[in-house]
């Protein structure tokens, strides 16, 4: 019998709830079969749109949700009892789920009929994505609260999507991906407190969110390994008898890391092949798929770009004969051997992590993070020296210019959208019933302190008009906030070697001698975007070239970065912004300092020109993958000092 098509989604949302609602309705009309909500960074980090850290970030990488009114607008006209909705939300997952349930109730839809997924995997936030709020132990409690609640109240909901996706984006190898992800799943299940007869149902609701890279044969094998090891863990460790409940259920967003800004049309075949990695094998086929747009490395995609990716899915599902066969690789000696090789290595790594105290301990100690920073450095070095071929980047670079790029691809949400959101939030705060808000928040605090499940009081908060910032503040107060170890305590060894590195070091010595002390650099990330790998790699490369590097970490306001640069007496500042908020944040830092500033991020050429005009000494984009060259240029910029305008 033919397999059923997977759920087809497009990860989207921007500007305001109203605009995103229009986007979702268009997507559904074009044949999308599920929703995938992208929240903006203030929402993901638990801040209201008018918080100082939210400035420039509202509506940038997703939709801002301040309170139930936004959620109602976002889902207007979309029948929630028929929809399958994936929400990429982690630290405040309980809150966004509470808002979703509250909106369903206002629509007259029964909770029990809701279907969808909350990402709700905080471990990978500490490892790679950076939108953590609370300490690991407290986060685990929130995660299990959601699981325990949904298993009883929303049985078709996937309360957690344990993510290997972001580990691959951070540079993890397939073995690291499998091992770290399953170790996280073990940490979550070990923390669950339900009666023994309920546990198998909980296990059956654990879902995964995976990535698929260009080495699509290996990726397919990786997915088979996931399936086998999950079957083994759920059987041996959690005693689940029903094979259906032991199935490795997963959704996928295919790899964005390998998409190139050079000759971006080449990304389409890449996306197709990466999709095959998770679709070809029926026994290890994805349940849901979302594809990036071909021009993601250039800026935020437009609806037409996303439609093209949806069409790829539809062609694969409906035109080809992909779904007509049983598993194509059953009995393949070659595939079986590869699967076994990965399986053994991953199992050994899982046992090692377990022996060292499990996934949460590994987060605390920073060991997983360090291992991934190392893998990513190895990957970038392989691209730099040509060992790993990337067509159009380090091989076959010359070619015709693309007519697609010429038509202009970049949309940037306007500053006006942010103001609109802030105004609407402030008027809502005025109009709501203050006593109801205070009462709901008091109940929430009580649950937090007594250890009771937070879901029911959170749903009451949602109905009362509590805001995202207020809800999260109550949790910050009761659960504390996380202070991260960086991946930067990587030991010696590894950095650039060979003649380039020697040249850089000699040059740093010369420049330092002239300056009177060693060349000093501040690396920081303004705004809320937590993707710190680029900044960390640059910091490491600069350290290995002989600079003294102050790493300020993520979630910095421009004022904090200015203060840091002054107090540290640096010669140069490097800022990394991947959320698209560079035009709001970077000029403020530049104006506050008299040392040169360079910027890296997903920055369209027009913006780059504006930034240079504003005094930024250099702008680096994903096209600039040669770290040694970047560090070399930065040394010269520091030697020259800030040009007086």
């Amino acid at each position: 019998m033919a397999d059923r098509p997977w759920i087809m989604r497009t990860y989207s949302g921007h500007s305001t709830a109203r605009e995103s609602n229009a986007l979702y309705r268009e997507g559904l009309a074009r044949g999308q079969t599920g929703l995938s909500i992208a929240f903006d960074l203030p929402t993901q980090c638990g801040y209201d749109s008018d918080h100082p850290l939210a400035r420039g970030e509202v509506g940038k990488v997703g939709v801002p949700i301040d309170s139930i009114e936004d959620m109602e607008l976002l889902l207007e006209g979309i029948p929630l009892d028929e929809m399958n909705t994936s929400m990429t939300i982690n630290a405040p997952a309980a809150w966004l789920l509470a808002l979703y349930v509250a909106v369903a109730e206002r629509q007259g839809v029964d909770r029990a009929s809701l279907r969808g997924t909350t990402q709700n995997d905080v471990v990978k936030e500490y490892l790679s994505r950076g939108t953590w709020i609370f300490p690991p132990e407290a986060s685990l409690r929130l995660t299990t609260d959601i699981i325990e609640f949904t298993v009883q109240e929303i049985p078709k909901w996937n309360p957690i999507n344990i993510c290997s996706y972001h580990l691959q984006e951070a540079g993890a190898t397939p073995v690291q991906e499998v091992a770290y992800t399953l170790s996280t799943a073990i940490a979550v299940l070990d923390a669950i407190d339900v009666p023994d007869d309920v546990l198998p149902r909980v296990v059956g609701r654990i879902a995964f969110f995976c990535n698929s890279g260009i080495r699509f044969i290996e990726e397919m094998c990786k997915m088979r390994v996931f399936g086998r090891l999950w079957d083994r863990i759920t059987r041996e460790r959690y005693g689940v008898d029903d094979p259906k409940l032991r199935r490795f259920r997963y959704g996928v967003q295919v790899n964005s890391l390998g998409l190139t800004a050079e000759q971006p049309e080449n990304n389409i075949p890449r996306i197709v092949l990466e999709s095959l990695g998770v679709l070809l094998s029926r026994d290890a086929r994805a349940r849901a798929l979302q594809l990036p747009a071909w021009n993601e490395a250039l800026g935020l995609p437009q609806p037409w770009d996303q439609q093209w990716s949806l069409r790829i899915q539809q062609i694969l599902a409906h035109e080809t004969d992909l779904l007509e066969y049983p598993d194509l690789f059953e009995g393949s000696v070659v595939i079986e051997e590869k699967v076994r090789e990965l399986e053994q290595a991953a199992w050994a790594e899982i046992e090692r992590i377990e022996g060292a105290g499990g996934a949460i301990a590994a987060v605390r100690q920073g060991s997983m993070k360090r291992a991934m920073v190392e893998s990513n450095r190895a990957r970038l070095r392989a691209i730099e020296d040509g060992q790993q071929v990337v067509v159009g980047v380090n091989r076959y670079e010359a070619g015709e210019s693309s007519p697609l790029v010429a038509h202009g691809t970049v949309v940037t949400p306007t500053q006006a959208a942010e103001q609109e959101q802030v105004d609407s939030l402030q008027s809502r705060r005025q109009q709501r019933d203050a006593a109801a808000v205070d009462g709901a928040l008091a109940e929430l605090r009580e649950a937090l302190q007594s250890g009771a499940n937070v879901m029911s009081p959170s749903i009451r908060c949602a109905h009362a008009g509590v805001t995202t910032g207020e809800w999260t503040d109550a949790l910050r107060e009761c659960l504390g906030e996380y202070r991260p170890p960086t991946g930067l305590d990587v030991s010696q060894g590894g950095g650039p070697t060979g003649p380039t590195a020697e040249q850089l070091r000699r040059r740093v010595d010369e420049v330092s001698h002239d300056l009177g002390r060693r060349l000093k650099l501040l690396v920081g990330k303004p705004g809320l975007d937590g993707h710190s790998n680029g900044a960390e790699l640059l910091a490491l490369a600069a350290r290995d070239a002989g600079l003294e590097v102050v790493y300020a970490g993520i979630r910095q306001t421009p004022q904090e970065l200015i203060a840091a640069a002054i107090q540290e007496g640096v010669h140069l500042v490097g800022l990394s912004v991947l959320s698209g908020s560079h035009m709001t944040l970077v000029p403020t830092v530049v104006d506050g300092l008299d040392v040169p500033v360079v910027v890296g991020g997903i920055i369209p050429e027009a913006d780059a020109a504006d930034l240079r005009q504003h005094g930024v000494a250099a702008v680096y984009t994903p096209r600039d993958h040669d770290l040694s060259r970047i560090v070399g240029e930065m040394i010269e910029i520091a030697a020259k000092g800030r040009a007086r305008v």
Partner: protein, 327 residues
């Protein structure tokens, strides 16, 4: 380069103006020869204008003892009590590249408007867990703030140098590490003015470590210790905040003791001579010391010289006949 000091710079530093403090730091942390006189003048003016109750507190101890976390909690306590705080955080320089990663800033977060000035520093191949300019930079901060913290790398044996930079030295150890015995062997137990057994929330192992320490201290003060100061052992958890108030109080008490007993000034002048001799020896070698009649004779001579580190250094250099001026 100008040898002049900008008018008003010293007053602005003393008033805690952040950009002025940064400017003064740029002057003292500069190895170019031609700024020598300016550095000397600034150091002298800052030294005379700094109230003697402003103190420099060293946090030392092995890696993993939680020095950064404790520093964060201490600074928070001082700031909440209305005091401005300076901090110098030292991290190791990579032997191979000469570069360094300075990560404390990502761990310790203070608002841009709070009166906290934090400077990260790399060891730059100097032994002793401190960087060459640590004292000069800490002195600029001491001129601006009542409390200045110096957090060392924490490399055990070579921690002795911290004594020559700080008024009070706190040794931080974590429970169950056996560090107490290690430190005793290394002669480091004689240096601290206060002991902190950190991570007291760990319970029994913390109590045991504290008992071990107290029984070692009961053997009597070491040869170099202040006779009238009874070195306290405190249990602190920066995580829960337990014991933090006791630490703040004990540090205040030590500060009062230093002032009342006159030990503070005696220590500062001893430390200054030790620092000068160290840099004299690293510049001119043991040959230089012999020309002055050996280390003890050099110390005796140095005691007779008034002025800043640099004055003493220049005078000794002249006396040895090797050079005059410059570092």
């Amino acid at each position: 380069m100008s040898e002049e000091l900008r008018d008003g710079l010293v007053a602005e530093v003393q008033a805690g103006e952040v950009r002025a403090i940064a400017e003064a730091m740029a002057i003292v942390d500069d190895l170019r020869r031609d700024g020598f006189l300016r550095r000397q003048r600034l150091a002298a003016e800052l030294a005379t204008g700094t109230p003697s109750h402003h103190s420099i507190i060293g946090l030392t101890g092995p890696p993993g003892a939680g020095k950064s976390t404790l520093a964060g909690a201490l600074i928070r306590a001082w700031v909440d009590a209305g005091s401005g705080v300076g901090m110098v955080a030292v991290d190791p320089t990579s032997q191979r590249s000469g570069g360094a990663l300075l990560g404390d800033r990502a761990r310790l977060r203070f608002g841009p408007k709070e009166p906290v000035f934090m400077r990260s520093l790399a060891t730059r191949h100097r032994l002793g867990g401190l960087a060459p300019a640590t004292h000069e930079l800490a002195s600029v901060l001491r001129a601006a703030y009542p409390r200045t913290l110096v957090e060392t790398v924490g490399v055990g044996q070579s921690e002795v140098a911290v004594e020559h930079v700080c008024d009070s030295v706190v040794l931080v150890i974590q429970p169950g590490s056996g560090d107490a015995l290690q430190f005793m062997k290394a002669g480091i137990l004689e240096i601290p003015d206060l002991f902190v057994v950190h991570k007291a929330d760990l319970g029994a192992p913390a109590t045991r470590t504290r008992n071990d320490l107290e029984s070692i201290l009961a053997l009597g003060p070491g040869p170099g210790a202040d006779p009238d100061w009874k070195t306290p052992v405190l249990s602190v958890s920066a995580q829960t905040g337990d014991g933090l108030g006791d630490l703040v109080e004990a540090l205040d008490e030590h500060r009062r003791y230093l002032i009342d007993s006159g030990q503070g000034e005696r220590r500062r002048s001893r430390s200054r001579i030790a620092r000068v001799l160290d840099s004299f020896q690293s510049t001119y070698g043991s040959h230089g010391l012999e020309l002055l009649g050996g280390r003890d004779a050099a110390i005796a001579r140095a005691r007779e010289i008034d002025g800043t580190d640099l004055d003493v250094f220049a005078e000794l250099a002249a006396l040895s006949g090797l050079a005059s001026g410059g570092r």
